[in-house]
């Protein structure tokens, strides 16, 4: 089977408009005879469900949480990009497109990224109309901040809770449709398989997590919006329940999985504190607007700090190494995430790390507090040499911008970041890879769509900050509602899909069998035991820096661990009751397969690009060394029974509008 990305012809800036002018439409009277399943209610799933219902389709939405409002988009902090150019600093649709393609290290599909940039401005209009309280200036207009990898201020935000506010906006749009009966909401439900009838996605098998009942749900199309697979590392900034099961089940039913090795390790997270750790907490990238990242210049000072003999505030300016400002003078602390993460790892590996584990660097706000404090003193006609006053005024400004983040840090670490620099270290955050989709956001299974983080399409090998929220809402509000109509137009006479079809019976039986197997396994170790082991293999050998030897070992170790898991996992409780261990077992089973494909993909990609860093392929300065001649393609894997036998399909990436160069932020 060859991959057809279905990119429309014509100049890049006309493709989307032209496409919309020529697609098939479904008339309103017919829409009410068509059912659509949406799995996941984050920014992509929530906005898609609301919009499709508003258009007149019957939507059945599913989430594993107790309310759609709790999807993990809620935790996104920093902001959402849009090419509004409200600041008049030279932004444009083309610049957002260009920055995103470059930021993704030239491994994204041009046409998709351009469409994203085109609809970005509309997202802000939509959200404001919905009552999303984005940050404003005193004149009453919207405020912006800047984010990594760009030279303009195009990021809209709501303090450190932008994801929460945007998700609650999509949730409110869903609530309106639930109230009107156009969305049937299934909370505390998990999709456990896709049902294909005559080659088309026609439904899902889901488990009611409260009663344990296995349910069949049919539809004319199925939309997967289940997020990313960062939890394959066990420790990540994802929620505890975030999982890849929906995406992986469709992969096993024929949807190709693209670029699994493209994973974002976010540079500013709170470091690991001990073995009991269950998750890692992100500190928004927006902090890098004002925080300066450093480690001690000398190994002796780093050692003294680790042993508690010195404090960071004891070190003078001359004794500090602001390594991002040193290495990347033009972008400084605002280099993209992949670069900032690797630079932190490089310093810590060289022995300059600053916490007990040696895996942490400082994010320091002292300079920002002083700068803002002096500004305020000047504005208020006070003495700008009174350092106590300056500190007080500056602290107020910083608290106003980042208060909730500082509070979160203090609660976790038990240190006051206004007084002493924060300690941060990179952690797994976002997965650029995901199910392969064409321009219509349809997977290789007809009628099965994938949107938001669960697809691979827009971020290439590295996602820029504040682009995930943009993509999720673009897919759900403005892209899928058109493309799915084009697919459904010939389906208007199909009528209701029966859940008594043999395909539903078979899929249900398979799910039931797998669940029963876990319940009756009577092994000796908990699910978490295996999940932690998987996470360790992934972090050590498939993490921030990879090499062929480590990846080969990882593939074997994961396969062996998977075998041990099926033999020895212990799942208490019953099938027909609320059973959180059983939920976890099903998710970890999928991670144990995905992790292997992930390593296989990383091993095959003999280059470094974005979040994928192969130690063998780097420039003399230690930057990622791409190989455009041999690897400018999307790696889409076809499932063939087990991950080791997955077959590679290549979608060549053609760049007509952006010139491929060595990405530089110097």
């Amino acid at each position: 089977m060859s991959l057809d990305s279905k990119i429309p012809a014509g100049p890049i800036s006309d493709k989307w408009t032209d496409y919309k002018n020529h697609i098939n439409l479904v008339n309103p009277a017919n829409k009410r005879n068509i059912d659509i399943i949406v799995v996941g209610t984050g920014l992509a799933g929530g906005s898609a469900a609301a919009t499709l219902a508003e258009l007149g389709y019957n939507v059945k939405a599913f989430c594993f949480q107790d309310s759609p409002r709790r999807a993990h988009s809620i935790a996104a902090q920093g902001g959402i990009n849009a090419a509004k150019n409200y600041q008049g600093d030279g932004d444009s649709t083309f610049r957002l497109f260009y920055d995103t393609v470059k930021g993704g290290d030239y491994r994204a599909r041009e046409a998709n990224v351009h469409r994203l940039a085109e609809v970005s401005a509309n997202i802000i209009d939509q959200c404001v109309a919905q009552g999303v309280p984005l940050a404003r200036e005193y004149g009453g207009l919207l405020d912006n901040r800047s984010f990594g990898g760009t030279l303009v201020s195009r990021t809209f935000y709501a303090k450190g809770q932008t994801g929460q506010q945007l998700l609650l906006g999509a949730y409110s749009a869903m609530n309106r449709q639930i109230g009107r009966g156009k969305i049937k909401m299934h909370n505390r439900h998990e999709m456990l398989d896709l049902v294909i009838v005559n080659g088309k996605a026609r439904g899902i098998i889901a488990r009611n997590l409260v009663t344990g009942e296995i349910e069949r749900h049919s539809a004319h199309a199925v939309v997967i919006a289940s997020g990313g697979y960062g939890n394959v590392f066990f420790l990540s900034t994802n929620a505890m329940g975030s999982n890849a099961t929906a995406a992986w089940k469709i992969h096993k039913k024929g949807a190709f999985f693209a670029n699994p090795c493209y994973t974002q390790i976010h540079p500013t997270c709170i470091p690991v504190s001990g073995d009991h750790q269950s998750k890692l907490t992100l500190m928004s990238e927006s902090l890098r607007n004002d925080g300066r990242i450093w480690v001690p210049k000398s190994l002796e000072d780093a050692k003294a700090i680790r042993e508690g003999k010195k404090k960071p505030t004891d070190l003078s300016e001359a004794e500090r190494d602001y390594y991002l400002e040193r290495r990347y003078p033009s972008f400084g602390n605002l280099v993209p995430r992949d670069i900032a993460s690797r630079a932190a790892k490089e310093r810590c590996d060289a022995g300059f790390g600053v916490n007990k584990t040696g895996e942490a660097v400082y994010l320091d706000f002292a300079a920002a507090i002083e700068r803002y404090g002096k500004d305020q003193a000047r504005i208020k006609h006070l003495d700008e040499n009174d350092m106590k006053l300056v500190k007080k005024l500056g602290t107020e400004v910083v608290a106003n911008k980042y208060g909730n983040l500082f509070q979160m840090y203090e609660k976790i670490v038990d240190e006051n970041p206004y007084e002493t620099p924060m300690m941060i270290y990179p952690a797994v955050h976002y997965t650029m890879g995901g199910t392969w989709v064409d321009y219509n956001l349809m997977t290789t299974i007809p009628g099965c769509f994938s949107i938001g983080e669960s697809n691979f399409s827009d971020h290439g090998a590295n996602r820029l900050g504040a682009s995930a929220l943009m993509q999720g809402l673009a897919d759900g509000y403005f892209v899928l509602p058109y493309t799915i109509g084009d697919y459904l137009a010939p389906d208007i006479k199909t009528g209701k899909i029966s859940t008594d079809l043999p395909e539903f019976v078979e899929a249900e039986n398979n799910v039931r069998e797998q669940l029963n197997k876990f319940i009756n396994n009577n092994g000796t170790h908990s699910v978490d035991h295996f999940h932690k082991k998987l996470g360790k293999i992934m972090w050590d050998k498939v993490g921030m820096a990879r090499n062929a030897k480590g990846l080969t070992e990882a593939i074997d170790e994961i396969a062996a661990l998977r075998e041990e898991f099926y033999r020895d996992v212990k799942v208490p409780g019953t099938l027909d009751s609320f059973n959180q261990e059983l939920e976890k077992a099903m998710r970890v089973a999928d991670f144990l397969e995905l992790g292997e494909l992930f390593a296989k993909d990383a091993l095959h990609r003999n280059e470094s690009c974005g979040g994928h860093f192969r130690e063998e392929y780097q420039t003399p300065e230690g930057e990622a060394q791409r190989d455009d001649e041999n690897f400018a393609y999307v790696a889409a894997w076809e499932y063939k029974g087990k991950p080791s036998e997955a077959v590679l399909h290549k979608e060549p990436l053609v760049f007509d509008n952006v010139k491929l160069v060595q990405r530089s932020y110097k």
Partner: protein, 247 residues
Amino acid sequence: MKLTLKIWRQKNAKETGKIVEYPIDNVSPDMSFLEMLDVLNEGLINKGDDPVAFDHDCREGICGMCSLFINGEAHGPDRGVTTCQLHMRMFKDGDTIFIEPFRAKAFPVIKDLVVDRSSFDRIQHAGGFISVNTSGNTIDANTIPINKHDADRSFDAATCIGCGACVATCKNSSAMLFVSAKVSQFALLPQGKVEAADRVLNMVNQMDAEGFGNCTNTGACEVECPKGISLENIARMNREYLVASIK
């Protein structure tokens, strides 16, 4: 640290529950409260017992899923945090800790410490939105300037995470803080004023239908709210409701 946990165990919604005692040691002060429960559960699973069911997801204080009533306080003894952000350094070696679900008539127990808060969703279905289509065919965002003071207060109300601590804390099991936060968010914005009257009437009616109690202004909800949602919102909702009722 060595602790004694007294945890509410209830097999399902129909059976009656009881407090069961569990000793636990080797608790590190750096652990979060939920990580301490993870350790307890790991031990229970290894012994062949049923682990304690509790709701949790983001573990960074924003999703609103975690919901424990710890030593008589929603989200435990610390202020301005959810249970997942509560750390064991708030407790002392040798402490006995009571852990119960959020209790209210409108929050029936599903299992152990897990409750059903779908009543909150139904209140939102009744009016927690602005009736604008999601087509994107709306006016440019900057054509509606909004006074920063109002925008900030609207944002403060909108930071409610819908956890239900206010209900669990209130002696009347009132949901007024939760409902008023959403009413206020929209009432403070020009976009929300168009249907403000219908919104407040519909949401309050649904709140009453779900069996939540009334507000008697004790202010306990505000104290226990992990996001510091202000009582002012309840005052604003009462005013909005009164005006809407006599229209």
